[in-house]
């Protein structure tokens, strides 16, 4: 019997000792940040992560586009959905806890952190071309997101003489530790943010290859640069950047106005958010089609077109015929925008049409005809084949702007164009406090007020 007791003692002891060794476990569908970056492929995966964040509903998957059009909704569209954040945006009654504002802010900075992280681990990448490409993409992401942040969360360019009014926080370093995560950084001025954006995009254009598949390349950066310059009224630079994109000969207008929305990565598009059936901004509570569409089984028909706006298109205009339709799904019988009809469609962020419009507008404003005449540029947009409308001979600035609003409707340009043209939406002037998003209150609180709230909130 005694032997069996010794055996028990032995077994129990061995058991006790082995238990303590089994406490080190690693997660299976997530990876410890301490070991994540070891090869070039890991860095590339991180930059793709940046794109996936940009494609999420909180950035270009929905919010940064939709909310621009909702902010300029007067005589244009109305929000019919139940979500109060969007309703507040459309009615300019946002409060400091607006959910869209919070998500747009935090997700953009999350993507910026991804870009900054990539920039901090580039030394792992040995191939020079690959390194340039990844660096360019990271700078591109950082640049355009700071630009869109400052457009939504600060009073517009031109609100003060020197543009030294508060912009957004410029973030160029990654967060890797708890201590860094608690840093309180104040807002930079609008002028500083624009300078940072332009520097990032110029550097990106220099680093990026001419062709980078469906991801950002040199011309994507230049096209965005044209948009940035135009926003600050720097017409010469806006024109020249647009001209460089057009001259690349990589992009051309599609024959039909619906092709760019119904197909993926067509000739007309400079850069699109890529989506597919599995990975898209969402089929339930986010996504362009979710809010815009009214088709059987697709869409909540939350954004209803204003008939006055739709009727302001010429009746023969194929854009009116192909881009607007009477809903047959949710809230049927009303008019909806046909640019957004499928959950899995790609989302064009910048099209060559915008470059023609930019170049035409700047040439008219500057009295130049760099690249082409305004008439030739506008003809790319409006012509008998594409829109079933005659070409406008010797277009005025107003002609170009009218076509711009028709062409870029419901693609996220609305409020930004109203602002730079110093116009108004309804009774809200271009620089109204009510057209500026609140800094999320949780952000003001988390920084102990170091990040200051916008006026009016």
């Amino acid at each position: 019997m005694k032997h069996s007791y010794i055996l028990i003692i032995f077994l129990v002891t061995a058991f006790a000792i082995s238990c303590g060794k089994k406490l080190d476990l690693q997660p299976k569908q997530t990876i410890d940040a301490a070991t994540i970056f070891s090869t070039e492929a890991d860095v590339e995966a991180a930059i793709v992560g940046g794109y996936s964040l940009m494609g999420s509903g909180a950035i270009y998957g929905t919010s940064y586009l939709l909310n621009s059009d909702l902010l300029g909704s007067e005589d244009y569209c109305s929000w019919r959905g139940t979500f109060s954040s969007q309703r507040q945006i459309a009615s300019k009654t946002m409060n400091r806890n607006n959910g869209e504002a919070a998500l747009m802010w935090s997700t953009a900075y999350r993507a910026i952190n991804a870009a900054n992280t990539v920039l901090s681990v580039l030394n792992i990448v040995t191939d020079v071309d690959k390194k340039n490409q990844l660096e360019g993409e990271a700078l591109f992401i950082r640049g355009i997101l700071h630009f869109d942040l400052v457009r939504f969360f600060a009073k517009p360019w031109g609100s003060t003489v020197n543009n030294d009014h508060p912009g957004v926080v410029i973030k160029t370093t990654p967060t890797k530790t708890e201590e860094e995560a608690f840093l309180r950084i104040p807002r930079n001025t609008v002028a500083q943010v624009y300078t940072q954006v332009i520097n990032d995009l110029i550097a990106a254009a220099n680093k990026l290859p001419e062709d980078n598949g469906t991801r950002a390349d040199k011309y994507t950066a230049l096209a965005m640069l044209s948009r940035v310059y135009l926003q600050k009224g720097d017409y010469a630079n806006a024109r020249d950047a647009a001209d460089a994109v057009i001259n690349s000969d990589l992009y051309k207008m599609n024959a039909s106005v619906s092709t760019v929305f119904d197909n993926k990565n067509t000739a007309e598009s400079i850069w699109e958010i890529q989506q597919n059936e599995q990975n898209n901004a969402g089929t339930a509570n986010n996504g362009m089609a979710t809010f815009y569409a009214s088709l059987p089984g697709i869409g909540r028909a939350d954004v209803r077109m204003d008939l006055g706006f739709v009727d302001s298109y010429d009746n023969n205009d194929l854009r009116k015929i192909l881009w607007y339709y009477v809903g047959t799904g949710a809230r049927p019988g009303n008019t909806y925008c046909g640019k957004w009809k499928s959950f899995s469609q790609n989302i064009p962020i910048i099209r060559i049409a915008e470059m023609y419009l930019n170049r035409a507008e700047c040439n008219i404003r500057l009295g130049t005809s760099v690249g082409a005449t305004p008439e030739e540029d506008l003809e790319k947009i409006r012509n008998p084949l594409r829109t079933n409308l005659p070409v406008i001979v010797a277009p005025t600035l107003n002609d170009v702007l009218v076509e711009r609003f028709f062409e870029l409707a419901f693609e996220g340009a609305r409020i930004h164009d109203i602002r730079r043209l110093k116009g108004s939406t309804g009774s809200f002037a271009w620089d109204s406090d009510r057209l500026v998003f609140p800094i999320p209150q949780i952000e003001v609180d988390a920084t102990g007020g170091v990040i200051a709230q916008n006026p009016g909130y």
Binding site: Y5, L25, R110, P296
Partner: protein, 989 residues
């Protein structure tokens, strides 16, 4: 740790063996009246050797001389210890004495009178034959200190069990559950928005007793798992004697406890005609507006459909069960099986369960015993959608009565309705969760010395859940071509436990027992799911037929615990009691820098009634003072919360990675310190017994999300930072009011808890639709928002209070203030057991006083016709003319008059409920014998018989499953519980 191990080894090593002479003992056991007792367990104290008495009460045993005592035990009788002699004549005393009960405690059992901690026990007799939706509901109103909110009448749905208040904010709040020594999974495994209840797979009929370890001193032996209390379940086991077969059957029906009344067509037209006319958007035409919103001309039709009624179906329940028990002195067994089928009251809801069980134990020789508990369950739950889904049948009550149920042209269910007509789901959708579960354990006990018992046990809880849904092409979620989803989750928890138990009485006055143990546990959950779209037609429902595989995933997570524990009890002169325990838990969940937690506890008791000054008291038959302190933990903090993590994030067809979590290198368990002081008493020869407890529980190191400046790329970081406290009283009184032919036993319990959040990083305000909030100094889940002040008699405007107590018609100007508290002031139960001759009657009542509920759907259904949702009938009492005094503002379509989230829909949800009535009749033995049976019992049982409440919604016991832990008492189209009436028969032979 090594010192700990060596002390344990030392404990093991003083094993010596000395075996000497033996004596043959014979004897007879009778009751007080001299009738022989068969099946009495006769065991040799200090060894595992035991036998059972024969039909004539006699027994025979061969005992080594070193053993001095025999212990006689039998259900319903007081245990007796007698010195060994060659022939023994023993008389056992019948025991109705609650104080001589044996209770199960962590890693052992104890006489209730010796317990120095706070433990509630619910025996199987308390809940047998009741149609329980799941076993935990048996505790409701029966166990003091245990607050249960079943949440809804949905079958298979998780319910809230809170032992002595709420001990966590973000980690789990449910108690730790151990079945026959095996820790089991009680957390939802499924993917549905509303959590499922893995405990619904456990057959209540298999349970012998449920013990709840409430204070820290009883629970601390479970260390880092015990902060929310521990529920120990002991299953029935075989008994020596002739083999007994029991058959049971019951069947019955169920209906909702209450339905709500909504407007009929005429009332609807009346209200909305006024609403359209008085709209802030001008005088509107109701027919036009109805057309604009619904796309139908039903305003001008002549339909009058009671949509609210359509949500319900006639429920039913039936159960077949059989059990066979028996055994001889060497081997005892129980084999049981049952099939239970419940059809819920909510359309499409069903739960069935097939159970099988084998409990076996075998004495190899006088020193070694082995045993096995095996259980197998298959359960199928046809689930209903979450409260918040348009497909929730109860949301049908939002549909205007003007819509026809069927489309008059096609004859099919009408699709042209204000919201989705989810009756379509009934014909074109299925949502089935199938569970296979097996909870098993095997053990060996070796009596190394008479005083020293080694026990080794291995337990496995295996749970496989398969969720399968198909939404047809006509349904909201399946349009346009059908959507199928299949999710497989497998959870396993394997626990190996080795304990060494030393028990000895020294010199009559010193009782000592101690236990040392080592436990290792590994838990693993794996999952795989796939979603398919585009099916040829709705008869193809398997994903093999889908044209598009639109989503798929697999996942795995794992945790381990390594634990070392010691506990000891010492009793001096049968009246001074001391206990202590000490556990060290190491876990993979805890950060590397902080891997082992220490959980000590001490307790003491003083049985005053054993003292000379009370011994002769005629009034006080038993009196014990006890007090305890202990520390417990909550390790349900997530498996990898301490690490900084990257997750995959796809960009269309390319895979990327994104940072998803910023870790904290010293993240640990949450820690609870609890003091308890209590009195156990028995008066008038223990005809009146009871317990009083006061507890004070402080929880620290609560995991909270600390908000980060978002510009740094993360929104929050999880740290051990918060604290909260719970204090409360528990009172239990049991009385044998009448004894003799007509017996009446009654029991009353009342418990309280006062919860207060004492430390937060930032207050957590209510959500956009919810009211629950967190604030320092206030209870968990307190309701906070605008304070509705009724209606301005002058103009019908909704009014809200301002900070100065005046009122305003501007919602935004109204002050945000405390407008309710979902935590009860007190709660409890009243239980009565009456028997006369063959009849027995159980009536159990349960009550909650002072908890508030918020009807979140009020914004849609009780909002004086702000939108076209059908309204509750009380809205007809709207303001009509200047001077009208009412609480319902003037209807104004789309205008939001009184529509903002406010105290308008907060109500007192106190209730008193006759929870169950069970009337049974045991046929006289003569009749049974004639039928060649041992016993026959027929009975009728009813649950949720009647509810007294002022709550105007469906059911005051409400907790919508989708609003999250913070939003207690929120009602959102939440179905009521069922009133069930069953009839049953049990026979034994």
């Amino acid at each position: 740790m090594s010192r700990f191990l060596s002390s344990m080894l030392a404990f093991l090593v003083f094993v010596t063996g000395a075996f000497g002479q033996t004596t043959e003992v014979t004897g007879k056991v009778t009751d007080q009246s001299g009738l022989p007792l068969a099946g009495v367990t006769v065991s040799v104290k200090g060894s595992t050797l035991s036998t059972f008495t024969n039909a004539d009460g006699s027994f025979r045993l061969t005992v080594q001389d070193k053993f001095k005592f025999l212990v006689f035990s039998f259900v319903g009788f007081q245990e007796l210890e007698q010195p060994i002699s060659a022939t023994m004549s023993v008389s056992l005393t019948r025991s109705d004495n609650i104080l001589s009960e044996v209770v199960v405690v962590g890693y052992g059992t104890k006489l209730k009178k010796d317990v120095t901690t706070s433990v509630s026990k619910i025996g199987s007799k308390e809940f047998q034959n009741l149609p329980l939706p799941s076993f935990e509901t048996a505790l409701q109103g029966r166990a003091s200190g245990v607050f249960i909110n079943q949440g809804s009448g949905k079958l298979g749905q998780a319910l809230n069990i809170r032992v002595r208040g709420l001990s966590s904010i973000s980690a789990n709040q449910q108690p730790f559950i151990v079945i026959d020594g095996v820790p089991v999974t009680s957390k939802a495994l499924g993917s549905a928005t509303e959590p499922d209840n893995p405990l619904a797979t456990i057959n209540p009929d298999d349970i012998e007793s449920i013990e709840i370890l409430k204070d820290a001193a009883s629970a601390a032996i479970y260390g880092s798992r015990a902060s929310n209390g521990v529920i120990l379940i002991t299953t029935k086991s075989g008994k020596v004697g002739k083999t007994k077969v029991s058959l049971g059957y019951f069947t019955g029906f169920s209906r909702p406890t209450k339905k709500q009344k909504f407007l009929n067509a005429a009332q609807y037209r009346e209200l909305f005609t006024v609403a359209a006319e008085k709209s802030d958007f001008g005088v509107l035409d109701p027919a036009d507006e109805f057309m604009a919103e619904t796309g139908t001309d039903d305003w001008n039709g002549n339909n009058d459909v009671n949509w609210a009624e359509e949500a319900f179906q006639h429920g039913s329940v039936s159960q077949y069960s059989v059990s066979v028990t028996g055994g001889d002195p060497k081997t005892r067994f129980l084999v049981s099986g049952s099939f239970n089928d419940q059809k819920g009251i909510l359309l499409g809801n069903r739960l069935d369960r097939a159970n099988g069980r084998v409990n076996l134990d075998h004495s190899v020789n006088s020193r070694i015993k082995v045993g096995l508990n095996l259980s197998l369950v298959k359960s199928r739950n046809y689930r209903v959608p979450g409260d918040n889904a348009f497909s929730n049948p109860l949301q049908l009550n939002a549909l205007p009565p003007l819509h026809p149920k069927y489309d008059p042209t096609t004859g099919k269910l009408n699709t042209a309705t204000l919201y989705y007509n989810n009756l379509i789901d009934q014909v074109a959708s299925t949502n089935l969760s199938t569970t296979f579960r097996s909870i098993n354990s095997a053990f060996a006990e070796i009596s190394i010395l008479p005083e020293l018992l080694f026990r080794s046990q291995i337990g496995v809880d295996f749970n496989n859940l398969q969720e399968e849904t198909y939404n047809g092409r006509e349904t909201l979620d399946g349009a346009p071509t059908g959507v199928g989803f299949n999710n497989q989750v497998t959870s396993s928890v394997v626990t190996a436990t080795n304990t060494l138990n030393y028990k000895k009485k020294f010199k009559e006055d010193h009782d000592f027992d101690a236990l040392a143990g080592i436990e290792y546990q590994v838990g693993k959950i794996t999952g795989a799911s796939v979603t398919g779209q585009a099916f040829p037609n709705d008869r193809f429902t398997k994903i093999a037929s889908a044209a598009i595989i639109s989503a798929g995933s697999s996942s795995e997570t794992e945790y381990t615990f390594a634990s070392y524990f010691l506990k000891a009890n010492y009793k001096f002169k049968d009246k001074y009691l001391f206990g202590g325990s000490f556990r060290v838990d190491g876990s993979s969940r805890f950060a590397k820098d902080n891997r082992y937690g220490v959980f000590p506890a001490v307790s003491a008791g003083w049985i005053l009634s054993e003292e000379n000054f009370l011994k002769s008291s005629r009034v006080i038959s038993f009196l014990k003072l006890r007090s305890s302190y202990g520390r417990t933990g909550n390790a349900e903090i997530g498996d990898f919360s301490s690490l900084s993590l990257y997750s995959a994030s796809a960009y269309a067809d390319i895979a990327g990675i994104v940072a998803t979590q910023l870790g904290v290198p010293n993240l640990s368990w949450e820690r609870t310190d609890q003091y308890d002081i209590g009195i156990d008493f028995g008066l008038f020869s223990n005809r009146l017994t009871g317990e009083v407890d006061y507890f004070n529980k402080t929880t620290k190191d609560l995991l909270l999300n600390v908000p980060l400046p978002n510009v740094n790329g993360f929104t929050s970081i999880t740290k051990n930072i918060g604290s909260l406290e719970n204090k409360g009283w528990e009172f239990v009184v049991n009385g044998n009011i009448l004894t003799g032919k007509f017996t009446w036993r009654a029991s009353v319990n009342i418990s309280t808890y006062r919860n207060k959040v004492t430390k937060l990083v930032v207050p957590v305000p209510p959500g956009t639709r919810t009211l629950g909030r967190l604030k320092e100094g206030e209870p968990f889940g307190q309701f906070f928002g605008k304070w509705y002040a009724g209606v301005d008699p002058a103009n019908g405007d909704a009014l809200y209070y301002l900070a100065d107590g005046k009122t305003t018609n501007s919602y935004s100007a109204g002050v945000d203030t405390i407008i309710g508290d979902p935590n009860p002031d007190y709660y409890g139960g009243i239980n009565n057991k009456i028997s006369y001759k063959g009849f027995d009657l159980d009536i159990q009542c349960q009550f909650v006083k002072g908890g508030d509920a918020y009807n979140m759907a009020g914004f849609f259904q009780s909002v004086n016709g702000d939108y076209f949702d059908n309204q509750t009938v009380d809205q007809l009492n709207y303001w009509k003319n200047p001077g009208d005094v009412t609480n319902i503002p003037q209807p104004r379509l789309y205008s939001g008059n009184g529509a903002g989230k406010s105290s308008r829909w907060v109500q007192d949800a106190s209730y008193f409920r006759i929870k169950s009535i069970n009337l049974g009749y045991n046929f006289p033995r003569k009749i049974a014998t004639k039928l060649k049976l041992d016993n026959i019992r027929i009975y009728a049982a009813a649950s949720n018989v009647a509810t007294i409440t002022k709550y105007k919604g469906y059911d005051p016991e409400v907790n919508s499953g989708f609003t999250g832990a913070l939003n207690l008492g929120h009602d959102f189209y939440t179905p009521p519980q069922a009133r069930t009436i069953t009839f049953g028969i049990n026979v034994g032979f």
